[in-house]
Each structure stands twice: as structure tokens, then as C-alpha cells.
């Protein structure tokens, strides 16, 4: 298998998943790139590690009525064979945001995340309808407080601003304040049964209900159209807008290709790569808003294939990717909470985005505190030769011969981390370092330690902050 193909597979699996061990990259590369893209888009292997109810039998502290849903979600990202499905769940969770700090009902949040898994690669219109009927969302953005005779604009506004169209594009506003009000009117009566907060009676799953008595059935004018619109009609109109195609395309680009400007600046900041955005927009309309089709076009494009290491990894990608690499947490055992906390301390806590705007990405992930945390977490894991994934790397390198050059050690480590690339200067420095520490034979007692130290050096580089 050509190194080039495995390197490309490493890239695909970092973006369309949370990374993969070297033997998986080899196997997938042997199968073929386009075949792997199809498999990711239409997964046939439903294995995802563990169902939540089974998890609760293993993790005594887990009980999804009280807690554990973020931890379970992380566990599943590590172990699911449907890597793109999990990656898309996280994608939408960062856009169609809800936070447990307000909803305080893990059972309802879990249902939402499951919906994002099931529908995250489907039709965007259907997804907007589902999120508009999602009990956690209805509660989070107060649509249950929006009444026929007293609308609450919160959901109507965020649906337009953060979930579909964005405030503006190419320097122009996409909608008016009146559109926000009319939008909110159309969603009156979309509410929940079993109001969400747990206290004082305990948490129950909330369900969506439509209350026709509280729905404003009057005439509305929304984005230039007039009619007795309900929520679904409004979503139909939203989905037809060029602004929606642009907004979703930019998000997909930012998440899968390269760091974009932050969302609040999109009205005035043009896309980093207008041509690719145009390709995605066209596919959005051509496929009748099919997210899977947009992803297929993207993953098979040269722009995507050439965008290696153009994004700074987020904390969840960093932690989950590291655990997948070293082969840790493939089975339940006590102590997972501490691992989960790492992502939080690096600045990204599942089910607790800082605001309805989601997480800011790119260089905003990195500050003095989070950088130290990130480097040490990854270095501590790749530096521990007891992990099966690290043992595999050592064995693989040793199997290539009794002697190894300094150059061979550095390149071997980079390859097994998923074909990472360093600047020439940094590469040279590590080779020099390996040379000085006297690496030469792969059957020596020191060899495992030399490999793990080299891995530690590589994961602490600036280059490794990227994916």
C-alpha cells in the first residue's frame, strides 16, 4: 500500500471521524478511498461500543436520568464504528445548540443527541423540523413560553440567525426584525408535555406536542411570502434561501476542511474558499438539501484531499482521537469521568456549549491553560508503553529490522500517528535528538522508551495541534 494512500486515509479519518489506528488506515486504504467515503456515509456496521442502558450496568455511577449522558456520548465517539455519524452528531450539536445548564434533563438531551445521530446526514429540511420539535430545544430556547397572544421570539430568532440563514451574507442582511416575529408566530403552539426541569419531582422524558389552541393561525408575511404559515411552512421557505445554502456550506467547510472566520463575522467576511462554498451550495440545491450528498461531493473533492492539517483540532477531537490512537476505553471500567473532564478543561464540554452560538473554533481553542493541558494529556497517553496502541507502534517499528536509523524512528513515529508532517526545521531537530539519544537497535531494552519519547515530542509540536 502506497504511503500516499494511507496518508490520505489518515486525513479522511481525522476529519470524517475521530482518527484511526495505523492498521485500520492500511485496511481502509486497501479497500479504496471512495469506497471508504461511501461506507462512512452509509454505514452498515451498527456497532457503536455500547448502548446507554447497558453502559449503566457497567458504570455504577451512570444513570441517564441524573447524569452520564455527556460521558456516554464521549464513550460512544471512541468506540462507534459509525465514525462519521458521531462526527456529524457533534457537528450539529455545535450548531443546533442546547445546553444542559438550562435544560437540566439528561434524558431529554440524550434523545436529542440520538436524533442528531439518526438524522444528521439526512435532509436538512427534515432536520430543521425535527430540531424545532425537539423537547430539549423547545425548552432551551423558550418556545414553550411562546404563545398565540404573547410570542417569545427566542426560537424564531435563533432558527434564522444561528441554525439556518445567518444574520447576513455578502454584506447584506438576510432577514428583518419583522421576519423574526412572523417566524416566531408560526411556531406558536409547538410545545412540550412533561415540562423539563427535574426538580422537585424527578426527571421524565419530555415529548413534543402541538397545541392548536395556542397556535397563531393568522396570516403572516415571511421573507416576502404571505400565507397562514405554520412552522413547517416557514422551514420550507428558509430552506429555499441562498443564505441557508451558504450558511450550511460554510459550517461544513469550517468543520471538515479548514478553519473559517467565526460565525458572527460571516455577514461581512467572505468565505475563505468561495469556489468550494459554491460547489457545496450547488449540491445543496441539486440534491434537495441532502447533507449526505454535500458531504460526498466534499470528501471526494481535491480541495478536501489537499486540506491536510488546515484545521486546529478541537478538544473533543483531541481527547477522543488520542484515546482511539492508544486503544484505551474500548471497554467499560471505572474512572471514565476524569477522562471526560479533560475535554471540559481544554475548553469543550459536551452538552454545555458556552452559548447558543456554540463553540468558537480554530485558534480560539488555544490559550496558555488549555495548551498545557492538551499537550500533557496527549503526551502522557502516547508516552505510556502499556497502552495496546503504543505497543503496536513499537512492535511495528521493530518488525522492520533489528537496526533503525534516527531518521527511521522519526518517520516511523510520524507515520503511525497518521502520517503527520513537521516543518523541515522541526523534523531535522527531532532526527538530531534521536541521533543524540543513540537509537540504533530495535531489540534493545531502551527501544520502547525511545519510541514513546519520540511520540511525546511529536505530539507536543505546533503541527500536532492541527488535523
Amino acid at each position: 500500500m502506497a504511503n500516499h494512500d494511507i496518508a490520505l486515509m489518515g486525513h479522511l479519518m481525522r476529519r470524517a471521524g475521530f482518527g484511526a489506528q495505523y492498521h485500520e488506515l492500511e485496511a481502509r486504504a486497501a479497500k479504496g478511498y471512495e469506497e471508504t467515503v461511501e461506507e462512512l456515509l452509509n454505514p452498515t456496521d451498527e456497532t457503536h461500543g455500547m448502548d446507554l442502558d447497558l453502559g449503566e450496568r457497567y458504570f455504577m455511577e451512570w444513570n441517564h436520568f441524573i447524569r452520564c449522558v455527556p460521558e456516554y456520548t464521549a464513550f460512544r465517539m471512541i468506540n462507534s464504528k459509525n465514525q462519521l455519524q458521531e462526527k456529524m452528531m457533534l457537528f450539529w450539536h455545535g450548531i443546533l445548540c442546547t445546553a444542559d445548564s438550562k435544560t437540566q434533563s439528561y434524558v431529554t438531551s440524550n434523545a436529542e443527541l440520538e436524533m442528531l445521530r439518526q438524522d444528521g446526514m439526512g435532509n436538512f429540511r427534515d432536520l430543521l423540523v425535527k430540531i424545532s420539535k425537539d423537547p430539549a430545544m423547545i425548552y432551551f430556547l423558550d418556545n414553550c413560553l411562546s404563545h398565540k397572544d404573547a410570542i417569545n421570539e427566542n426560537y424564531g430568532r435563533e432558527l434564522l440567525e444561528l441554525f439556518s440563514m445567518g444574520v447576513g451574507m455578502d454584506g447584506q442582511f438576510n432577514y428583518t426584525e419583522d421576519d423574526v416575529k412572523e417566524c416566531a408566530r408560526a411556531f406558536t403552539g409547538w410545545t412540550i408535555a412533561n415540562g423539563i426541569p427535574g426538580q422537585p419531582y424527578g426527571r421524565y422524558p419530555s415529548t413534543f406536542i402541538f397545541n392548536p389552541d395556542d397556535h397563531d393561525d393568522g396570516e403572516k408575511t415571511f421573507l416576502g411570502r404571505t400565507g397562514n404559515f405554520n412552522g413547517e411552512d416557514v422551514i420550507d421557505i428558509i430552506c429555499e434561501q441562498p443564505a441557508t445554502a451558504r450558511f450550511i456550506s460554510r459550517h461544513i467547510y469550517d468543520y471538515f476542511v479548514a478553519d473559517e472566520a467565526q460565525v458572527p463575522s460571516w455577514m461581512d467576511t467572505p468565505p475563505r474558499d468561495p469556489e468550494t462554498i459554491k460547489v457545496l451550495e450547488d449540491e445543496y440545491f441539486r440534491s434537495n438539501y441532502d447533507i449526505r450528498s454535500m458531504l460526498r461531493v466534499l470528501f471526494n473533492s481535491d480541495v478536501f484531499k489537499n486540506a491536510r492539517f488546515a484545521r486546529i483540532k478541537g478538544p473533543i477531537e483531541t481527547v477522543i482521537g488520542t484515546l482511539r490512537l492508544v486503544g484505551e476505553w474500548t471497554t467499560p471500567k471505572p474512572g471514565f469521568e476524569a477522562i471526560f473532564e479533560e475535554m471540559k478543561h481544554m475548553g469543550q464540554e459536551i452538552l454545555n456549549p458556552p452559548s447558543v452560538e456554540g463553540w468558537h473554533t480554530g485558534k480560539e481553542w488555544i490559550d496558555g491553560g488549555t495548551l498545557v493541558r492538551r499537550i500533557n494529556f496527549v503526551a502522557d497517553h502516547v508516552g505510556d508503553v502499556r497502552y495496546p496502541g503504543i505497543q503496536d507502534i513499537i512492535k511495528n517499528l521493530a518488525s522492520q529490522g533489528v537496526t533503525i536509523s534516527a531518521e527511521g524512528l522519526v518517520e516511523g513515529c510520524l507515520r503511525h500517528l497518521g502520517h503527520y508532517e513537521l516543518t523541515e526545521e522541526n523534523h531535522r531537530m527531532l532526527v538530531e535528538h534521536a541521533h543524540q539519544s543513540g537509537v540504533s537497535s530495535t531489540d534493545s531494552r531502551e527501544f520502547p522508551q525511545q519510541v514513546s519519547e519520540m511520540l511525546q515530542m511529536i505530539v507536543s509540536t505546533k503541527e500536532y495541534l492541527y488535523a
Binding site: 458556552p354 452559548s355 499537550i375 500533557n376 535528538h433 543524540q436 511525546q456
Partner: protein, 378 residues
């Protein structure tokens, strides 16, 4: 402001979990208090009374001593409009000084930017704990966040002093900014080098330090000790932050067992910290703010108290004009806010006072508008 030899320093102590204001600063002679708290009331013979109406929890001796010396301002009835009873959200509100909408910049993050606009000192602010509280976060502001000062820095997992030394040497060279690599790469370089340099400086603090004070073994006490070490090492640190772990003060049950222990540990650590500063003649330049995210329900639930509103906060130090500030919220049933204490002074007034009168900053741009200030700074 007092005439300090040194720049004023603010130490912020976050008591996560929401301590029960009513059993922290206790309206012990109010008949309603006795009615609401059949099991959890603390009697007049136990309360560390400051007058015939209110007094400290019996385990808060060290703070009471400081109060008696006129060094503690008690901010009664502190809160904000439309109280939020979620730990996370309410803590966010305290961190960002913004109750209306969710924002990501912290009030201290902005203050740090004003204290050191040219980023001349990478240790202008230091946090001790797990992860950086949002209070200290702001774009472009680098704050060292330390779990254990004796083992702080990058690549601490590399065994062997020589190996780690080599690794750090290479790390520094690999993070050196390269011409023409772009602003993001430059930013990452700077952040990496700052972290390295910050760690190098910080870890010298324990070596420079000696003291007769023996701190307790709790993480909070140890973090306060680290704060003393950093302050005494004269790194020019102006804002120091620490607290207790999430949920610590969340006394839904068995409050009469947990609260005495918690306040005992916390206030002993604070008392030790103050003694330590005094021993090193560094007590005049430090002011402490101790706060929590919200108060708890007035009516007990049997053995504990549930989430409420209207709290009490404390500002402590030599520069503080001790006494009672704000009003103790009324306990009369019709004056409660859905069963909770009614807040009467906005927490941003306390922030404004600290920022302006103590730290010498312009509070307005940090807090977004002007708030009435107290006169608890001498």
C-alpha cells in the same frame, strides 16, 4: 486606597456549589429563621454574633476574627436580576458579569487585559485549580492555570530530569516563531513559549518560600498556600484565583453535617493564608473576594436546602473597611422571592468597587455600564 509599597492584588475565592447564605451569615434572632429551619437552625449560643441580629456560622472562626479586627466587609443580599438557579448558568453570570445574555469573556479576563495591555508579564494572573474559570477568559489574555505548582509545566510526564530537560529544550526551539508562517502560527508559538516561560518562573515560587504557617491538607488549602507562594515570590501577579471543586457546597442533604466541616476547612485555610501574608509583611497589598453562585432556599427540605437566590459574599483584607453592606433580605413570607431571599445589591457593584477603588481600573468598560459603588475599600 491605602498607600501600598506594592501594586494591589486581588485574590478571588470561588465557593462552587452555592453555600447556604442563611446558615453562613445567620439572622439568628429573626423568628422566621427559626420557623423556616426547624432542623438546620443554628442557635444564638452557637452563632458567632456580630450584633444582636446576625452572625457567622460557628465554623467560620477565622473570618470572624478578621471581622472583629475590622477587615471583613459582608455583602448582604447580593445577587442579580432574574435569579437563575442553575449552578452552571449562575456561575457563568458571576464570571461574565452579564445576567442577560451568554457571553464568553470574563470580567477578570478584561481586567487583566487592562492591567497589562502590552502583555509584558505572562504571570499577571494565575489560576489554581482544574481548568480555567470563564471569569479569567478573554481573547488575547494568557492566564497560567495550575493544578499542582510543584509539578506544573509542559511535558511533565517525561521521566528523568535529563530527558525532560532535553525535551523542553527542543520544545522551545520548535515553538520559536518562524518568519512568514502567518498570524495563527505566530499566536500558537507565543502561547507555547509563554506557557513554557510561565512554568519556569512559577515553579521557582515554592523554592523561594519559607513559612511557619502549616496549611491544611484540602486542595483548597494547598491552592491558597500556592497563592501565597506566588504572591510572595514577587512575580508581579495581580489577580489570583482559586476555589473549591464543583458541587462542594451543594448541600441538598445532611447540611448540618457537611456545612460545618466545609466552612471549617475553608476559613481555616483563609486564616492561615492571612497569617502567612502577615508573617511576610505582605498583608496590606492583598484583598480577597469570597463568593458563591447563588443562595439556597429559605425553607429547609428536612436535612438540607435546595437551590435559591439572594446570597452573601465577603471581601477581606487590611485595605477593607469592615462592616455590613447591603441589607439583610427580609425573611417575612410575603417579602420572599418565590421562597428565596430577595437580592438587594447587584454583584456588579462589588465588582465595580474592587476594580476601581482597589485595582485602580476603570470599571465601566469592563462591566459594560456604571454601577453604584460601595465604600468598603479604605
Amino acid at each position: 486606597m491605602t498607600s501600598n509599597k506594592k501594586d494591589p492584588v486581588l485574590v478571588v475565592l470561588q465557593m462552587t456549589g452555592a453555600y447556604d447564605a442563611l446558615n453562613t451569615f445567620i439572622p439568628y434572632s429573626d423568628p422566621h429563621y427559626v420557623d423556616y429551619r426547624p432542623n438546620l437552625q443554628i442557635g444564638p449560643d452557637e452563632v458567632l454574633a456580630v450584633d444582636d441580629k446576625v452572625g457567622f456560622h460557628p465554623s467560620m472562626g477565622p473570618i470572624k476574627d478578621m471581622y472583629d479586627q475590622g477587615k471583613v466587609a459582608v455583602l448582604q443580599g447580593i445577587g442579580y436580576p432574574n435569579p437563575n438557579r442553575s449552578h452552571f448558568r449562575s456561575l457563568d453570570i458571576w464570571h461574565t458579569a452579564e445576567p442577560e445574555k451568554t457571553i464568553s469573556e470574563g470580567w477578570l479576563g478584561k481586567a487583566i487585559r487592562d492591567l497589562d495591555p502590552n502583555k509584558e508579564n505572562i504571570l499577571t494572573a494565575v489560576n489554581f485549580g482544574r481548568g480555567l474559570p470563564r471569569a479569567l477568559a478573554a481573547p488575547g489574555v494568557s492566564v497560567a492555570s495550575v493544578g499542582d505548582i510543584t509539578n506544573y509545566g509542559v511535558l511533565t510526564g517525561i521521566e528523568g530530569e535529563d530527558q525532560r530537560g532535553d525535551a523542553l529544550d527542543i520544545f522551545a526551539r520548535m515553538y520559536a516563531p518562524m518568519i512568514g508562517s502567518g498570524p495563527v502560527s505566530d499566536y500558537l508559538s507565543q502561547t507555547g513559549l509563554d506557557a513554557l516561560k510561565g512554568a519556569d518562573i512559577l515553579t521557582t515560587a515554592p523554592q523561594k518560600y519559607s513559612s511557619s504557617v502549616e496549611y491544611g491538607g484540602s486542595p483548597f488549602a494547598q491552592w491558597l498556600k500556592s497563592i501565597a507562594q506566588v504572591h510572595l515570590a514577587d512575580f508581579g501577579t495581580r489577580v489570583l484565583y482559586t476555589g473549591v471543586n464543583p458541587g462542594t457546597f451543594d448541600t441538598h442533604a445532611n447540611e448540618n453535617i457537611t456545612l460545618p466541616k466545609l466552612w471549617g476547612d475553608v476559613t481555616n485555610a483563609i486564616g492561615d493564608f492571612y497569617q502567612d501574608l502577615k508573617e511576610h509583611n505582605a498583608n496590606e497589598e492583598v484583598v480577597m473576594l469570597l463568593f458563591t453562585e447563588f443562595g439556597r432556599r429559605v425553607q429547609e427540605n428536612g436535612s438540607g436546602t435546595d437551590h435559591g437566590s439572594g446570597g452573601v459574599a465577603f471581601v477581606m483584607g487590611d485595605a477593607v473597611k469592615g462592616g455590613l453592606y447591603g441589607e439583610y433580605p427580609s425573611l417575612e413570607p410575603e417579602k420572599l422571592d418565590s421562597g428565596d431571599l430577595h437580592w438587594n445589591n447587584d454583584f456588579r457593584s462589588t465588582y465595580a468597587t474592587l476594580l476601581e477603588q482597589w485595582m485602580g481600573l476603570d470599571a465601566n468598560p469592563i462591566l459594560g455600564e456604571t454601577y453604584e459603588q460601595f465604600d468598603f475599600i479604605k
